[in-house]
């Protein structure tokens, strides 16, 4: 597989480490009323889509960027690759 790194261009997937669903960016608020439930869902409950899936890849043998890769689980087609930091900010994460 090839991942088209937003900064470095096409790179072999063997340079990357896979983590999983990009929903791992959406870490719940530890002080929320339902924090225990929210962390349970965050940690354990995943969608398993047959089709487009946003997932986290880490360029371990490269520039150490975490990426959000949109990959079709049926065809392996990768339609989008973004810096995870940008995605995290767009989803409202900050400090």
């Amino acid at each position: 597989m090839i991942i088209n790194h937003p900064l470095l261009g096409p790179r072999d997937a063997s340079e990357f480490t896979y983590l999983g669903d990009a929903s791992l960016i959406d870490r719940p608020d530890w002080q929320a009323e339902n924090a225990a439930e929210a962390f349970y869902e965050y940690g354990y409950v995943r969608d398993n889509p047959a089709g487009e899936h946003q997932e986290l890849w880490y360029h371990e043998a490269g520039d150490r960027s975490w990426l959000v890769v949109t990959r079709n689980t049926l065809t392996h087609e990768i339609s989008k690759v973004e810096l995870a930091r940008d995605v995290a900010r767009a989803r409202g994460r900050s400090k």
Binding site: S14, E60, G62
Partner: protein, 186 residues
């Protein structure tokens, strides 16, 4: 002046040199390194300080630049500065002074070992070692890659001159990989 005697990453007092079929692989211990990472929101300031230090614009993604002191791109908002060890052993202090509080600077001198390849047909050696698209490795290129599962930087100095940086602790394995590829390809 301290009285401890350094050894090279391959364990010798003198750097190792191997020549196969017109390509020479030289261990280069005489280099000091410091990483520079821009503080949040300080990228431009860091790049400007760096440019002054290396007497060239701060290298863009996948590039290196500089003169006596040079730098290569190591990651987003992050560079590695290289300079001759003999004159710049305390390079990190110098870089920190240059960048002030716009950047985080970390001594990296002995985190790495460097092998320089000189000669014709270096691409024939490199294509057995790493996945880089060597067609794009023109002078000024600097790319991180994996060589036999060792995370490395490959810098093209000139068409017949490349530097490979690998982690110091893996110097023996990296050297073995390079020389084996030279014997295979040349």
């Amino acid at each position: 002046m301290h009285d401890l005697v350094a050894i090279t990453a391959l364990g010798g007092t003198d750097p190792r040199v191997d020549t196969v079929g017109g390509v020479t692989c030289s261990e280069v211990p005489g280099v000091a390194l410091a990483s520079v990472a821009a503080r949040m929101g300080q990228k431009d300031k860091t790049a400007a300080s760096l440019a002054k230090l290396i007497d060239a614009p701060a290298p863009e993604i996948g590039r290196w630049a500089g003169t006596t002191i040079s730098a290569y791109w190591a990651g987003p908002d992050q560079w590695m500065v290289e300079a001759p060890f003999d004159t710049h052993e305390e390079l990190a202090d110098q870089v920190q002074t240059a960048t002030g509080n716009s950047a985080s600077v970390t001594e990296q001198t002995d985190g790495w070992t460097r092998f320089d390849l000189n000669g014709d047909s270096i691409p024939a050696v490199l294509e057995l070692l790493c996945q880089l698209d060597l067609r794009k490795m023109d002078p000024g290129s600097a790319a991180r890659c994996s060589i036999h599962h060792i995370g490395c930087f490959v810098l093209c100095r000139a068409p017949d001159s490349f530097s490979i940086y690998g982690p110091r602790s893996s110097a023996g394995s990296l050297h073995h990989a390079i020389v084996t590829a030279m014997r295979s390809a040349l």
